[in-house]
Amino acid sequence: MSALIECRDLVKTYTMGDQTVRALDGVSLDIEAGDYVAIMGASGSGKSTLMNLMGALDRPTAGSLRIAGEELAGLDADRLAAFRNRTIGFVFQQFNLLPRTTALENAALPLVYAGVPAEERRRRALSRLEQVGLGERVDHHPSQLSGGQQQRVAIARSLVNDPKILLADEPTGALDSQTSEDIMRIFDTLNREGITIILVTHEQEVAEHARRQIVFRDGQILEDRS
């Protein structure tokens, strides 16, 4: 049985004028279903680049990336979009909620693009918001919510499509330590329920929640410990 995520010799280069940056420099990595992984490393070491590749937001310059048995390297933009919609949930550092839109509609957004009927969208978004403890605030707009509450709406949104993988790039980067702890507890619970979680963080306390820690330097894996 192969791993849920299989990275083989992943290379990602960016060209800026006459300069070439190797953001990822030959990364090979397997992540099993149900794993809980923290990625760490200095700024610019390639963490977000890897997350974007695993999230099917971007394509590698070289190498192969298989997720849930599907090779992503050759897919076009619309196929990648459909793949993200089915398989991946994203949580961002800046929450990225739609302004002037209720928590419920924000949480339901991925279902809109999955072609789910309105009534079912509502029901599923509501149950995810309740799961992250926001059942009382479903009609609030992001501007009426605290940072931690906004991040919970974002988590509800990432879960609404029942994804296999939850990718979180510095999910607590914009939150104070108490709120961070609350958010991490939600992740712990989700992982116990079986979802694969990969998160990027600079904070050791946050990384401690994960079962496996991978440290990057200059686009390569420096350390991988469980």
Binding site: N52, G55, L57, D58, A77, D78, A81, A82, R84, N85, R86, F90, F92, N96, L98, R100, T101, L109, P110, V112, Y113, A114, G115, A118, R157, N161
Partner: protein, 411 residues
């Protein structure tokens, strides 16, 4: 993504920047409004022209000596031999498909009744004239062919004569003096009002053609004492105007000894065609205005495109997020396209209201003929939707080509 969600997103986005949306619509509003004013006025003019043609006699042919009747080229109208009573007879007897034929001679004179004087036009005509020119007898009767032949001093008078000489009372049976000679009023014609160049058509007296010729010498030119100035021929319904004109031309060429190959020394014209031709030049002005309206719509469309490009830039992160959670390119493109169409449709409806209001004001102030046709609703919706699609396509396409990562990172 379905249409209703797209519409909701579009309306929310437009409401957030209500003032900006309204300003962006302005060009579309003005463009659609001017199209509607234009269409209403040109439809109104067209209808007025048709009414005018009907008031002259819709199927009327006018025959005059000289090679040209209308327009600038009056090829020897004065020198050609006049038309005569026998031409009228010949046309009546030999050309098929005519409902009536009448000669006409004109005089003008002072008319007296009681102590009142009135100066007016006197037209000597044959009995067919009334039906040919669509004059309806209101009171009394017209004269017969026999009364025309024998030169009876009978007249049929128009509404202005009734008002001026008889103070509006029924004049039938009254005796009046025209140029010092006694005449009896035997009938009146229903009023027609002013014609399009402002002449009072009801300020007129009709009398038998022979009577006028005998009493006033009108229509007599040179030695021909049976001359008429104009012949009117009324084409029967369903007959071909072209065929009737050709038959009259053939007949008159023979009667007037026009050598083969030479130009006609008379002219046969259709008044309806003349008026339509004159209106044609007016509709060229309409075309110019239509081009103006199209330019306003174009500029309005560019305004829409500009605001949509601004909107796409402002909402780059939103687009990035939508792409990240699974929006396909066409979802993003459709979202912005629908937004642009909705923007233009709202502008189009506002333009419709403005245009109808403007048309009504214009008609009130300018005393113009207008016709508000339900089809302008279709024009307003069609034109604005077209502008929305055309000028929304590029911004929408740009939005759909954004890279999700770049868009999410956009500040």
């Amino acid at each position: 993504m379905n249409l209703i969600s797209s519409l909701r997103i579009a309306l929310i986005a437009l409401r957030v920047n209500a003032l900006r949306s309204a300003l962006a619509m302005l060009g579309v509003i003005i463009g659609v409004a001017s199209v509607i004013v234009l269409v209403s006025i040109s439809e109104g003019t067209k209808r007025a022209v048709e009414e005018q043609i009907a008031s002259f006699g819709a199927n009327l042919l006018i025959i005059r000596p000289g090679s040209s009747m209308f327009g600038g080229r009056h090829g020897g109208a004065g020198t050609a031999d006049p038309l005569t009573d026998s031409d009228v007879e010949a046309i009546r007897n030999e050309v098929a498909g005519l409902a009536g034929v009448s000669g006409e001679v004109n005089a003008s004179s002072t008319v007296v009744f009681g102590g009142v004087n009135w100066s007016t036009r006197i037209q000597g005509v044959n009995p067919d004239y009334f039906s040919a020119r669509d004059w309806t007898i209101a009171e009394g009767r017209t004269f017969s062919g026999a009364e025309d032949q024998s030169g009876r001093r009978y007249v049929v008078v128009g509404q202005t004569i009734i008002n001026e000489l008889f103070d509006g009372a029924d004049p039938v049976g009254q005796a009046i003096r025209i140029g010092g000679q006694p005449f009896e009023v035997i009938g009146t014609v229903a009023p027609k009002g002013e014609n399009s160049w402002g002449m009072d058509q009801d300020d007129i007296i009709f009398a038998p053609l022979n009577t006028i010729r005998q009493r006033f010498g009108a229509g007599i030119r040179g030695t021909q004492r049976d001359a008429v100035q104009t012949i009117y021929a009324d084409i029967a319904p369903g007959e071909s105007t072209g065929r009737v004109i050709a038959d009259i031309q053939d007949l008159l060429r023979i009667r007037r000894d026009v050598p083969p190959g030479a130009e006609d020394d008379f002219a046969v014209g259709s008044l309806a065609e003349f008026i339509r031709a004159r209106n044609e030049t007016e509709s060229q002005l309409g075309l110019l205005l239509a081009v103006g309206a199209a330019i306003v719509l174009l500029v309005g469309g560019i305004g829409i495109m500009n605001i949509m490009l601004v909107s796409v830039t402002e909402r780059t992160r939103e687009i990035g997020l939508r792409l990240a959670v699974g929006a396909k390119r066409r979802d993003v493109r459709n979202q912005f396209l629908i937004e642009s169409i909705v923007l233009c449709l709202i502008g189009g409806l506002a333009g419709l209201v403005t245009g109808v209001g403007g048309t009504l004001i214009y008609a009130q102030v300018g005393q113009l003929d207008i016709a508000i046709d339900p089809m302008i609703v279709g024009i307003a919706i069609g034109a604005s939707a077209l502008v929305g699609v055309f000028f929304g396509l590029y911004p929408a396409h740009r939005a759909s080509r954004l890279d999700p990562i770049d868009a999410l990172r956009f500040e």
